[in-house]
């Protein structure tokens, strides 16, 4: 799973600033290209409403991808995020249904806290098993993927878990559907989360350590970095991001089921990679990941808005677009 740009980076004589910039810009170029394609496909596409819808619903993957950027930069991988969403959301709704706290605002706050706590714990579990057990993160998180999914199925007895209190529902709904100064709240959350994450990754010691651990475990260790701690915290950050995504997810449909979040892990990883972060670790592009999540959601949206694609071939076209988007990015970077 060595990245290719690794290859190309070393094959090329020297990575100049211009390169670095273009690399960061490339996903955004692909995004703009898609916007143009979309506008050609359907005039409604470029409407504020549609774009706001797309950006809003990309929130889950975008926020999860922010966490995944940490995990991947530090050289690991987390396949469990999709089931983690389902698990955390189920617990959160069950708690709200329990009626343990009668004041709805208090209850909501407590439930949010619970979600965040459970998310962090799930991430911690992934991190500790991976680092202390010294098992490939792929396997660990594939295992916990099954574990979280199973627990969710069990909690829901296979069915849906639906938020029952109408006041709670009413109070909570705007968190997904509401907007502030005309900007949908989920979009604001995306940007706040990304800004904080970018700050942590680029401007703090911890962020530097993440990149160092991802580039070379040994160099990091010889530099006195607590490698396992850094890796574990990255998993915890991933868990926190999942929890934040859940906080936006639950008010949308007010319910979860055993299928919630299926394959989201692949989407999140794809967003991260499309955004320019290499899977082999050692570099992280938070804003790129956000851009990647937008791209994924846009591709789906364009498919649905286009009138000439058989519904059977959607997967085919979607796959092709993603590959083409990457080729465009690469050729941009190479031309520099």
């Amino acid at each position: 799973m060595t990245a290719n740009d690794d290859n190309s980076a070393l094959a090329r004589p020297r990575r100049s600033f211009r390169d670095v910039d273009l690399r960061a810009v490339a996903p955004f170029a692909a995004l703009i290209l898609l916007l143009i394609v979309g506008a050609l496909v359907n005039p409604n596409f470029i409407g504020i409403n549609n774009l706001a819808n797309v950006a809003t619903r990309s929130a889950f993957i975008a926020i999860i991808a922010v966490g995944a950027t940490f995990v991947i930069s530090s050289g690991d991988l987390d396949l469990s995020v999709g089931s983690m969403v389902a698990f955390v959301a189920s617990l959160m709704i069950l708690f709200m249904n329990s009626g343990a706290i009668s004041d709805p605002a208090l209850m909501l706050a407590a439930a949010a806290l619970l979600a965040v706590g459970v998310g962090a714990l799930c991430g911690l579990a992934n991190g500790l098993i991976t680092t202390l057990g010294r098992i490939e993160p792929f396997i660990v998180t594939l295992g916990t993927m099954g574990i979280f999914r199973g627990l969710t199925t069990w909690l829901s007895q296979g069915g849906a878990i639906t938020l029952r209190q109408p006041e709670l529902q009413a109070m909570y709904r705007p968190v997904y559907f509401g907007s502030i100064f005309g900007i949908p709240i989920p979009i604001i959350v995306i940007f706040v989360v990304a800004a904080i994450a970018a700050f942590v990754l680029y401007r703090t010691r911890y962020g530097r350590h993440v990149v160092a651990v991802g580039s070379s475990r040994d160099v990091a260790r010889y530099s006195g970095i607590h490698v396992n701690r850094v890796r574990t915290i990255a998993f915890v950050i991933q868990g926190l991001c999942v929890a934040i995504a859940v906080l936006l997810y639950v008010p949308r449909l007010g319910s979860t089921s055993a299928t919630t979040g299926i394959l989201w892990e692949l989407q999140a990883i794809t967003a991260v990679v499309v955004g320019g972060t290499a899977l082999k670790g050692g570099s992280g592009r938070i804003w790129g990941s956000i851009c990647g999540a937008f791209i994924l959601e846009l591709v789906g949206n364009i498919m649905l808005l286009s009138n000439f694609i058989s519904e059977y071939l959607i997967g085919t076209i979607q796959g092709s677009i993603i590959i083409i988007a990457m080729l465009v990015q690469r050729s941009l970077v190479r031309k520099s």
Partner: protein
């Protein structure tokens, strides 16, 4: 005498309806065990055709007297079922029928009526909104979904009802939400949504509400989940009816099978449950608040 083994192989609970299947299978299994002490009823769920084929094999290894199976994808399981059947085991197929569905593969077939599910929905729309422009959210690309589409087309045949678009929603709420959002962007006027599954209706309704669109007159879903039946019962304008496709059919098949195995009642052939149209009037007969579905 009662020391018989019945194997029940069903899809994993991957959405509301299949969750209902699991629920009813477990419920009836318990019931049979009670009625026939010493009887063994083994319920197994599988996520996909290949693993269901394995499950069938593994059930057979334990020595089966009867197999009740709701195939994830029927044609892919025919061989596995035949294997069991050829060993002399009583076989009941539920819901999803293979292309060749005769007594060479099974003794008993119990199903909802998939073509009828589409047809009943189509006819309702034709009758109530004869000039409606409709968007369709399909399930997953497997045969029963195709049968429902064909049934629907038959139902609206000869009317002015026009299908604007069809897309897959994978019997999943989140996907249906997305598809509906995009339909709303794409079509300035939509009269009716047919989404043929109650889970998907949840997402559809949210998307409509968010868009504050008033042109959509109603949504026809299907299966008969307690939430949707409740809405019908309460007279929700958006969900005037639901088309029954009860997950409890697996229980029916198990009861019939038990009768065949324990009491040598000759149950053979095909039992197709009606795709009943649930309306405000009859809704309470189909409302089971304790079911997970």
């Amino acid at each position: 005498q009662d020391a018989k083994t019945i194997g029940v192989s069903i899809p994993a609970a991957d959405h509301g309806w299949t969750a209902g299947v699991v629920y009813h299978a477990e419920r009836v299994a318990e019931q049979i065990r009670k009625e026939h002490p010493g009887a063994k009823v083994i319920v197994k769920t599988s996520p996909d055709p290949a693993s269901q084929a394995n499950a069938v094999q593994d059930l057979a290894v334990q020595g089966l007297d009867a197999l009740v199976i709701l195939p994830t994808d029927p044609d892919q399981l025919v061989n596995a079922i035949k294997e069991v059947k050829d060993a002399g085991t009583f076989v009941a197929i539920v819901d999803r029928a293979p292309s060749v569905n005769d007594d060479s593969v099974r003794d008993l077939y119990v199903a909802g009526n998939n073509p009828a599910l589409g047809e009943v929905a189509g006819e309702y729309i034709k009758a109530n909104t004869p000039d409606a422009e409709v968007v369709v959210i399909r399930g997953m690309p497997i045969p029963i979904d195709q049968q429902r589409q064909d049934g629907f087309d038959k139902g609206i045949a000869g009317s002015n009802v026009k299908v604007l678009d069809r897309q897959f929603g994978n019997w999943n709420r989140d996907d249906a939400f997305k598809v509906m959002q995009d339909f709303l962007t794409k079509y300035p006027k939509i009269d009716v949504v047919w989404c043929q599954d109650d889970d998907m209706a949840v997402g559809v309704l949210e998307a409509i509400e968010q868009a504050k669109r008033t042109d959509i007159k109603y949504v026809v879903a299907g299966a008969g989940s307690k939430d949707m039946i409740k809405r019908v019962m309460d007279g929700d304008k958006m969900i005037p009816v639901d088309v029954l496709y009860p997950p409890a059919m697996v229980g029916t098949a198990m009861e019939l099978t038990a009768a065949a195995v324990f009491n040598q009642v000759p149950v053979r052939g095909t039992y197709v449950l009606d795709a009943t149209l649930i309306t405000k009037d009859n809704a309470k007969n189909y409302y089971f608040p304790d079911s997970p579905f």
